[in-house]
Structure formats: structure tokens, C-alpha cells
């Protein structure tokens, strides 16, 4: 790439000289002028997306005094502290839990649901169910988080009232106020909110499978389960793989629902990396340590990002 740059550079100079002699500018100069189309994007992304990531590493090796604003270089001290911080390990565990449960419901569950919906005879009903299940995904996580904050509440909430109604009084508890159940309750809300989105994506993938494959297998006498396992599943494998990676990435960036529902409590039991970063960086004004936590998120999302890149580069399913 550098070579191209140098070449166009000399082209530029050459063109300028020739123009001075009264000739038309050489095409090279016009090609360089085309950079104007991408300039805005490159500046914006470079300045506000790439540069902060680099700066984050620098901040993570410093300590800032809140009162004097004085910044001191502390090397890897923040990372040392990270390894010994029990809440970081709780957070990592909660993020991992988020990933695993979401893969079960929002990848495999959504795949089965999409297969059921796409198996319906009438297009009108297929469209209806896809749209209905999607509605929570259109609504902001803040609203759905607050809504479930109320649903999980013991006094006015739906959940405990429903449990009382069916005689399961033993299960009644303040779901978000109990350190045992807080993170699971948040994850459950997230499944409710997100499964319709992945169902829609799987439905789109299933629609791309040619009908003849199903017709042929019906003639061969294959039942619905055989068709699901032998045709639908293998031919949407690309989407499944992609969804697993995207889900893991999302699970390590979780912030909004935890912030709204418990803010990490009770007793830090539902902290995730994102909320712990916020707590340390913005509540306790410890930018350096917050940046070190951000580095952990960066490493995980970078690994999944690379996995995604390798995965999508591989040969696709061809029909």
C-alpha cells in the first residue's frame, strides 16, 4: 500500500509540472482528488473510533488525581490490581453466563422457532409471528429493563403475583434484590427482548433455501424432523456460526440492562465488565483503572471480531 502512496505522490508532482506547461492534468491527479469522497468518513472514524482505542491503553497506565488533575504514570499497576479484584472475576463470570444462556435461547432456540414459523403454510401468518416476536427488540433496552424491574418487584410485579396465582409461593422472592437470582433475572429479560431479532435473521436465512430441496425430501419420505436436521440446519450453518460469534461479542459489551435494573447490585453480584468500568471510571473517578477494565473488553471483542472475520472469509454455502 505504501508503494502506491509514493507512486501517486510522484504522479502528483509530475502532473503539477505539466499543468504549468499548459497541458491537461494527468489522470493520476484526478484519482487523488477522488479521496474527497472518503475524507469525512476517514477523519470521523480515525478521530472518534480508532484514536480513543489507542488512547485507552495510554490512560490505563496512568493514575489521575481527582483534585489536582495531575496525571502520573503508574505502568502496569492498574492491570495488577485488575487480576486481584474479585469483582472483575464476578463480572467476567457474569458476562460468560450471559453469552452461554444467550447462545442457547437466541441462537439455537431462535433457529428452532424460525424453522417452525417458516413451516407454516400461510405467508400472512408467517409475517405476523415474525413481527410479533420482534416487537421487544425495537423497543429500547432502557424501557424493557425498567419494565422488568417492575415485573420482578414483589409488591406490584407480575411475576410474583403469577407464582402466587398458580400456588408456587415457595419461589416468590425479590428477584433483583436477591444476590442469587439478580443476574439470572437480568439475563432472562435480555432473552425476552432479543430472541425475536435473531428469529427474524434465521427466518431470512431459511427463506433463502430453495424449495425444491424440501419437495425432493418429502418425495423421499422424510419427516419434518429429518428435513430440519438434514436440510434446514446444515444450510443455515453459516448464519448459526455468525450468530454465535455476534452473541458472544454482544454479551461482553452488556451495559444498559444491568445499569437500569440493578446497577451491578446487590453487593456487586450482578456486575458485568461494562458496569464495573462505569462504576470505577465515573463514580469513583478512577479513569486509569476504568481504562484497564476497558482493555479486557477490548481483548475479548477483538478475539471474537477476528473469529468473525476468519469465519465470513471461508467459502459460503452455495446453492
Amino acid at each position: 500500500m505504501a508503494v502506491t502512496g509514493i507512486k501517486s505522490g510522484t504522479g502528483f508532482a509530475g502532473a503539477a509540472k505539466r499543468r504549468g506547461a499548459g497541458g491537461r492534468p494527468r489522470p493520476r491527479l484526478r484519482n487523488l482528488f477522488s479521496f474527497r469522497w472518503i475524507a469525512a468518513a476517514v477523519i470521523l472514524i480515525g478521530w472518534f473510533v480508532y484514536y480513543p482505542i489507542v488512547d485507552n491503553f495510554i490512560v490505563s497506565t496512568t493514575d489521575q488525581d481527582i483534585y489536582t488533575g495531575e496525571v502520573t504514570n503508574v505502568g502496569l499497576t492498574n492491570y495488577d490490581r485488575l487480576l486481584q479484584d474479585p469483582v472483575v472475576w464476578t463480572s467476567l463470570w457474569n458476562n460468560a453466563l450471559y453469552a452461554v444462556i444467550s447462545i442457547v435461547f437466541q441462537v439455537f432456540g431462535a433457529f428452532l422457532l424460525a424453522a417452525m414459523i417458516e413451516g407454516l403454510a400461510s405467508e400472512k401468518w408467517r409475517r405476523f409471528w415474525r413481527a410479533i416476536y420482534f416487537v421487544p427488540s425495537a423497543i429500547s433496552i432502557t424501557v424493557t429493563g425498567l419494565l422488568f424491574y417492575f415485573i420482578y418487584q414483589p409488591e406490584i410485579g407480575l411475576l410474583d403475583a403469577a407464582l402466587r396465582g398458580v400456588g408456587l409461593d415457595v419461589l416468590i422472592r425479590p428477584w433483583l434484590g436477591d444476590a442469587q437470582t439478580a443476574i439470572y433475572s437480568i439475563i432472562a429479560m435480555s432473552q425476552w427482548q432479543g430472541f425475536g431479532y435473531s428469529t427474524l435473521l434465521f427466518a431470512i436465512a431459511i427463506q433463502k433455501i430453495p424449495r425444491e430441496l424440501y419437495d425432493a425430501s418429502i418425495i423421499d419420505g422424510a419427516g419434518p424432523w429429518r428435513r430440519l436436521w438434514n436440510i434446514t440446519f446444515p444450510l443455515t450453518r453459516e448464519m448459526t456460526g455468525l450468530m454465535i460469534i455476534v452473541t458472544i461479542t454482544g454479551a461482553f459489551q452488556v451495559f444498559n440492562e444491568v445499569m437500569v435494573m440493578t446497577a451491578g447490585g446487590p453487593n456487586n453480584s450482578s456486575q458485568v465488565l461494562g458496569t464495573w468500568l462505569y462504576q470505577q471510571g465515573f463514580i469513583e473517578d478512577n479513569f486509569g483503572y476504568g481504562a484497564a477494565i476497558a482493555t479486557v473488553i477490548f481483548v475479548v471483542t477483538m478475539l471474537t471480531g477476528i473469529a468473525q472475520l476468519i469465519y465470513t472469509r471461508r467459502r459460503r454455502v452455495q446453492f
Partner: protein
């Protein structure tokens, strides 16, 4: 012999039909139950906006006594109106910027003789892999230095910068599929790059641009992390952040909080149902290509 071979499949079909009907009944029952689990909480939210606090603390499954709009009016006047205007402003401004910048970039990357294209593609699309959470602390320092902290300008800039990679990805894929005949003919007639973009390519890309706008509206209307950190000032809060403020201020008046939540959810649900087609195209192009 012929008789039996004909009869056998027929009886098998009948048996399959019985099982088929039972399976279908279970399937529909499942879909309906799941539908109720999804929709009922949302209806409960809207209905609670019509109740008063005594009713809310009563039977949670009870219907409201009547359509009392008081809480909705109250919520609207006590802040929701301002949050809605900030949200609309930020969503519209960042949406226009994102689509314009992305369309320019996609055009530069697909239709011009610009050098170093693969490098630029890698740079722009690489932005997809970087998460806002990781950038947030340096961005606060940066916005403070620029004097944009606690203004909606910070949100407009950041929403644009973080959404351009994805929108560019969508529009670029669409432009790659467009036939080159039209713009080649226009070049022969002496049209400039600018003319070709505004008069030919941009109009042709209308479907994908509509999809991009819908996806952007959904993102910007609902975004929370940046909105929360860059707008602690009440006058620049978007709806999601404003809702948590209402919750903190009027947390005991549950009915009003429910009304505010419903008001903030409704526009986006309407947008989704009205523009479903474009929305689904955006999604399927985004992840399928």
C-alpha cells in the same frame, strides 16, 4: 399386488395426517403462548399508565378502571416532551450525517479510480469491530477538551462516527451490485464524479438508504451508554436517559413512570410496523452478505 401397493401409502398418509394435526395443534399452541409472553408485559405497561397508584398496588392483572389520560399528560409535561425533542434532534441530525458520509464513502470505494481502495475498505470496516464501551473514557476526555461534553453535539458526532462503518458496509454492497452502464454512459457524456453521484447513483440507492435510515433511527432512539455519559445535563438528555431521571425523581409515582415508558416505546414500534420491509432488507443485507 398393484392393489396393496396402492393402499399402503394411502393408509400411511392418513396416519401421518392424524399426527400432523396433533403436531400442528401443539405448534400453534406454542406460538400463541410465546406470543402472549412477549406482548402481555407491553400491554401491562401501557395499561398501568392509566391506573393510579392504589390500583397499581392492587391486583396487577386487573384492568384499569377507565381510560384516564392524566398520567400520560403529566408525564409529557414533566420532562418527556423535552427528552423527545432532544431524541428527535439527535436521531435526525446523526441520521442525515451518517447516511451522507456513508454514501459518499461507498461511492468513493466503488465508483472512482481512487488509489489504495483495499486499505480504505479495511480501515472503514475495521471500525465495525471496535466497541463503544472500550472508547468511552478517552472520549470523555476528548469531548471535555473540545468543549462538547454535556451537549447533544457530542451525541450527534459519536452516533455518526460509530454508525458510518456499518452503513458504509450496507451501501457499498448495494453499489457493487448496481450496473455500471449508466454511470459509464454519463462519463462518456462528460459528467463529473459529483454529478454522477448526486444525479445517478444516489437516486438508484434509495432502497438501501431507506433501510440504513430505519436501522439508524432504531439505534439512535434507543442508545444508552453514550447518551448517559455525555448528557448528564437535563437539557440535553435523550429519552432513554430521561426515563431513568424520571424514575429517580418521580420513582414513587409508578403510574407516571409507566406512562412515560409507553410514550417512549410507541414511536419506535410504529416506525417498525410501518417500515418493516425496508427494515428486514437492511438486516438481511447486513448479516447475510
Amino acid at each position: 399386488m398393484i392393489f396393496t401397493t396402492r393402499q399402503l401409502p394411502r393408509s400411511r398418509t392418513r396416519e401421518a395426517n392424524v399426527w400432523g394435526v396433533i403436531a400442528k395443534a401443539f405448534l400453534y399452541a406454542f406460538l400463541i403462548c410465546l406470543g402472549i409472553v412477549v406482548i402481555y408485559p407491553l400491554i401491562w405497561m401501557a395499561l398501568n399508565g392509566f391506573k393510579n397508584n392504589t390500583q397499581i398496588f392492587g391486583d396487577p392483572f386487573a384492568l384499569p378502571a377507565g381510560l384516564n389520560w392524566h398520567n400520560y399528560v403529566q408525564a409529557w409535561n414533566q420532562g418527556v416532551r423535552d427528552y423527545v425533542s432532544v431524541s428527535v434532534l439527535v436521531t435526525v441530525a446523526s441520521g442525515i450525517c451518517t447516511v451522507l458520509v456513508s454514501a459518499w464513502t461507498a461511492y468513493g470505494l466503488t465508483r472512482t479510480k481512487m488509489p489504495a481502495k483495499p486499505l480504505v475498505v479495511g480501515f472503514v470496516l475495521g471500525g465495525l469491530m471496535l466497541s463503544p464501551t472500550v472508547a468511552v473514557i478517552p472520549l470523555v476526555k476528548m469531548m471535555q477538551a473540545l468543549g462538547l461534553y454535556n451537549t447533544y453535539w457530542a451525541l450527534i458526532i459519536l452516533y455518526t462516527a460509530f454508525r458510518v462503518p456499518f452503513s458504509t458496509f450496507l451501501i457499498r454492497a448495494y453499489m457493487l451490485d448496481l450496473s455500471r452502464d449508466l454511470d459509464e454512459a454519463a462519463t462518456m457524456d462528460g459528467a463529473s464524479e459529483g454529478q454522477i453521484f448526486w444525479r445517478i447513483i444516489l437516486p438508484l440507492c434509495r432502497p438501501i438508504i431507506v433501510s440504513c435510515i430505519i436501522l439508524h433511527v432504531l439505534f439512535a432512539w434507543n442508545e444508552y451508554l453514550f447518551a448517559m455519559i455525555f448528557s448528564s445535563d437535563p437539557n440535553s438528555q435523550t429519552l432513554p436517559v430521561g426515563l431513568t431521571s424520571i424514575m429517580a425523581k418521580h420513582g414513587t409515582n409508578y403510574a407516571e413512570v409507566f406512562a412515560a415508558m409507553t410514550i417512549s416505546a410507541l414511536p419506535i414500534v410504529i416506525v417498525f410496523f410501518a417500515a418493516q420491509r425496508y427494515f428486514i432488507r437492511g438486516l438481511s443485507d447486513g448479516i447475510g452478505k
